[in-house]
């Protein structure tokens, strides 16, 4: 595969983002929580897209893994009797383990079906989890849990968790970037494009789908603890298993930015996070209506998302691929997901 000068743009962009992320909490201390949530959104969008855009399996229940993470970490902090940071780390470890286990148990059951059945099966997962945890006294019932108090001033706490979430988001991004270049990533895309064909070619489709979901669960579980620590409480409906907010946003961000791509969910998270502020300020009360409308509009009218639109407008910013056989062909575009290519067939 040829790597033109444009190949260095994503790397430069990533470096820029990381640099900004490291510096921003000091330059804009009042926006640290905002920044922390931005990183969380990036993680949400990326993990949704693994199964969603890359494999073609909509999950409306990924928030369950995040919620498990919130609770597991808070519980370890409450009951394990360790010092703050040790219990945080142990809690996050347990969170990841539980989330992955949940995906490993549930996945083989519901990922053996085709996409639309899986999607609907996941619709209720968040609600079931919320109801179960809200009715369980050990985890605080409807009031939830208050995680351990950070041993330091609030500004420091916010900065700390902001960096933790940034690290998690970057880890997710780097892992997926690597993953999508492997055979595993190609198999996921094959499942998306034609699952019957993939099976007919001998690919173990269910195994790959479950593994993909477990991967998403891993990062979502890890993120739960830091968010709980940052927010200061774990509420089953409002935070942990917030299906109508987090659950919906995951889908929206990936679709908005360009599903099935690596940078798409990141762009979507950025655009969403910025506009969310505007929405909340100017559309107060109606912002969630607008979000639902946005999902419909994007899915129906702009399925390629921001990234896809950008590629169509400025193909030279991306890798160009020439149809070497055709004499007077226009530059065709190699692509990672469903996109219209411009090509004259010889």
């Amino acid at each position: 595969m040829k790597r033109g000068p444009n190949a260095y743009r994503p790397a430069a962009l990533a470096a820029l983002v990381v640099a900004l992320g490291l510096v921003a909490p000091w330059v804009f201390p009042q926006a640290v929580t905002q920044l922390a949530f931005f990183w969380l959104m990036v993680l949400f969008a990326l993990t949704w897209d693994v199964l969603g855009g890359q494999t073609g399996y909509n999950s409306f229940g990924n928030v369950v893994f995040f919620g498990l993470g919130c609770y597991a970490t808070a519980l370890v902090q409450r009951d394990a009797g360790l010092s703050y940071f040790t219990s945080l780390a142990a809690g996050m470890g347990l969170s990841a383990l539980l989330a992955v286990a949940a995906a490993a148990l549930l996945g083989p059951l519901i990922l053996g079906m085709r996409g639309q059945y899986f999607a609907i099966a996941t619709l209720g997962l968040g609600t079931v989890a919320a109801d179960l945890f809200a009715g369980w006294d050990y985890v605080g019932g409807g009031s939830g849990i208050v995680p351990a108090l950070y041993p330091g001033p609030i500004g420091e706490r916010n900065r700390f968790f902001c960096y933790v979430l940034m690290a998690l988001a970057l880890l997710t991004f780097a892992s997926l970037r690597w993953l999508y270049g492997t055979r595993f990533g190609a198999v996921l895309n094959a499942i998306r494009d034609d699952e019957d064909k993939a099976e007919a070619m001998g690919l173990r489709t269910t195994r790959h789908k479950v593994a993909a979901w477990m991967l998403a669960a891993f990062f979502l579980g890890l993120a739960g603890g830091p968010v709980a620590g940052l927010v200061g409480f774990v509420d089953p409906r409002e935070l942990a298993f917030a299906g109508t907010s987090f659950g919906v946003w995951m889908v929206l961000m990936a679709v908005l930015g360009g599903k099935g791509t690596l940078w798409g969910p990141v762009i979507g998270a950025a655009v969403f996070h910025v506009t969310q502020e505007l929405f909340w300020t100017y559309l107060l009360g109606w912002q969630r209506v607008a979000l639902g409308l946005l999902i419909v509009v994007i899915v129906v009218f702009f399925p390629q998302g921001v990234l896809g639109w950008l590629r169509a407008q400025r193909p030279q910013w991306f890798h160009e691929t020439l149809d070497e056989g055709a004499a007077a062909a226009q530059p065709a575009q190699r692509d990672e997901a469903g996109m219209r290519a411009h090509e004259r067939t010889a």
């Binding site: 070619m201 001998g202 692509d335």
Partner: protein
């Protein structure tokens, strides 16, 4: 030497319709065997039965010495039995190279194998196979943008990438520009001779069947009508009647 593929008295019905009735065919290692018959005679159904796409009502199928009657599609494919589709199926969202790479056989099964990047040797092999079918120039293009004939060629290249022992081709020349059919047939013959791939081919084009197959089976109304060398079958009265009668 026992055959690579042994289909024994396979029967399959859909609802009340018997699509295949007690069909037995045998495909020797390294051979090119043809399957002909008028539309609706059950050829594609037989293919689907062989590759495990549906269960069969009676009979047995042996491949490479193993009983594959109860195996599922993906397991059978991993044993080296690959089929192409009549309506041509490729991974439309990915470029041709990626289509090829994802078809590379995976020797090891575990997580480590899944997470490999594609080694340069594999990339070379994919490129050379694309070249073999004449699609090298188009290798970076999205498969969905190729013409029907080009997608057919891609599908065949993908099947070859899988290093099959037996390749079931469902009407490989249907919809191909007549001027290109000869080169396609030539490529299939070369795949058989050079790469050692046994072929079982459904074809409507008699000229192709004559030049390609060593042995031909003819189906009609879900039953095996005749079997033999292509020249014999061409003169067989029953075969002629089956075709003429159905038009």
């Amino acid at each position: 030497m026992s055959a690579l593929l042994e289909v024994s008295a396979v029967t399959k019905s859909f609802g009340g319709v018997v699509a295949n009735r007690a069909i037995s065919i045998s495909v020797p290692q390294g051979a090119i065997v043809g399957l002909i018959g008028p539309n609706g005679s059950g050829k594609t159904t037989l293919f689907s039965s062989i590759v495990g796409a549906h269960t069969i009502d009676a009979g047995a199928i042996h491949f490479d010495g193993r009983d594959i009657t109860r195996l599922r599609v993906d397991a059978i494919a991993r044993l080296g039995l690959i089929r192409t589709f009549q309506q041509t199926r490729v991974y439309r969202g990915m470029d041709c190279m990626r289509n090829m790479l994802v078809c590379a056989p995976c020797e090891r099964e575990g997580l480590g194998a899944m997470l490999q990047r594609f080694p340069p040797a594999l990339l070379e092999r994919a490129e050379s196979l694309l070249d073999f079918v004449g699609l090298h120039a188009k290798r970076q293009l999205r498969a969905g943008t190729l013409s029907f004939g080009q997608q057919k060629l891609l599908e065949i290249a993908m099947a070859l990438m899988r290093e099959p022992k037996l390749l079931l081709l469902d009407e490989p020349t249907a919809g191909i520009n007549p001027t290109l059919i000869n080169s396609l047939v030539e490529r299939l013959r070369r795949a058989n001779a050079e790469l050692g791939v046994t072929l079982l081919v459904i074809e409507h084009n008699m000229r192709v069947m004559m030049s390609l197959a060593e042995r031909v089976y003819c189906l009609a109304h879900g039953e095996l009508l005749a079997a033999g060398a292509p020249q014999e079958l061409r003169r067989d009265a029953r075969v002629i009647e089956a075709y003429l009668g159905s038009h």
